[in-house]
């Protein structure tokens, strides 16, 4: 039986889809069998970020409506042994799928794969409710900005109300700006949101280039962002539990220890 992890944020444009793509690819590289589900019905994007847009035949709404089996709708990523994508529909709207449909669909995927990563749409309406309905746990992605953190906090509250355990990824952090005093540090974000942190992905232009090409950054070598995505993937599959990397000097290390982030994550 696999685990379903929803990747969500509240605010759009903070890197949910890029995070889903890279974590999925990195987890598959580590040997796990992974399915990525695009839950953004009507505005699908995970297919283009993955570079699989030309291979779509069926999508999630076809499966829900019984037009094809889940297996038939899955697109196998040819670059990796055990990575699949279940694309969203581009023409239907959010109401085409219910939370009940999602629970049934994800249960079927979990029966045959180690991990199901669900890429949640922005917002907190129907699409969000569908995406979290079948999740065993959640990853909230936030950039170190006031608006992103505010929306993340709303989502954290909604996930807590559903008793879904939640961890944080801070995305697009610039150690240069943090040192200058012009960006919130990862420690600041942890303190404000009071969440366990999985990792902090640095602002990295390699990700822009990878996304242009439809190639997960983790498959393109050792850029800073790719290394952090791989490190987070290792934590998720339970391979190791090293401390969150520092960007701000010794104080941060002490803080993460004080917050208990050095210890093993809950199973």
């Amino acid at each position: 039986m696999g685990r379903a992890i929803v990747i969500t944020s509240g605010k759009g444009g903070v890197g949910k889809t890029t995070t889903t793509c890279n974590l999925g690819a990195a987890m598959a590289q580590l040997g796990a069998s992974v399915v990525l589900v695009d839950a953004d019905i009507g505005l699908r994007n995970l297919d283009v970020v993955m570079g699989l847009e030309n291979r779509i035949v069926y999508h999630v709404v076809d499966v829900v409506q019984g037009k094809c089996t889940v297996q038939k709708a899955l697109i196998k990523d040819r670059r990796l042994e055990n990575l699949w994508l279940l694309p969203a529909s581009q023409t239907d709207d959010k109401d085409a799928v219910t939370p009940g449909d999602m629970r049934k669909l994800i249960a079927e995927l979990k029966a045959n794969h180690n991990y199901v990563l669900i890429d949640c749409p922005a917002g907190i309406e129907q699409g969000f409710k569908n995406a979290i309905a079948a999740a065993d746990e959640a990853i909230v992605v936030a950039t170190p900005e006031v608006s992103s953190i505010r929306d993340a906090d709303r989502v954290v509250g909604l996930l807590a109300a559903q008793s879904i355990s939640t961890r944080l990824i801070v995305n697009r952090i610039s150690s240069h700006l943090v040192k200058k005093g012009d960006m919130l540090s990862q420690a600041d974000v942890i303190e404000i949101l009071a969440l366990d942190m999985l990792g902090a992905v640095p602002l990295d232009e390699h990700v822009v280039a990878s996304t242009n090409k439809g190639m997960p950054a983790v498959l393109e070598g050792k850029s800073l962002a790719a290394r952090e995505f791989t490190r987070i993937a290792r934590r998720l599959v339970g391979l190791d539990v090293e401390t969150v990397r520092e960007t701000g000097g010794g104080f941060f290390t002490r803080l993460t220890r004080a917050l208990g982030l050095s210890s093993a994550p809950a199973a």
């Binding site: 906090d153 012009d182 009071a194």
Partner: protein, 82 residues
């Protein structure tokens, strides 16, 4: 040059302060108007027992970790009768 910037709060600190305030209110779901209404009612209740300056009563919502608390402060005058 250094001193010129030193006295100023960094934008990072400003962001933190703004977030603490915004999140405290978001988490409780109390908009500004409702909070003022509550402040006036609390002040009225206190004044039933102690003569106070109604406008000096302050309410604040603060949040630490994921716990949120309401802080009410009011200067109380010393009694005048024996």
């Amino acid at each position: 040059m250094w001193n010129l910037f030193r006295s100023k709060q960094s934008s990072r600190e400003v962001a933190k302060g703004r977030l603490h305030l915004v999140l405290a209110h978001d988490r409780v779901g109390l908009e500004g108007g409702k909070l003022q209404e509550m402040r006036r009612e609390i002040a009225a209740v206190i004044s039933k027992y102690v003569p106070i300056d109604l406008d000096a009563v302050e309410v604040q919502i603060e949040t630490k970790s994921r716990a949120t608390e309401l802080k009410v402060s009011s200067p109380l005058p010393a009694r005048t009768s024996p």
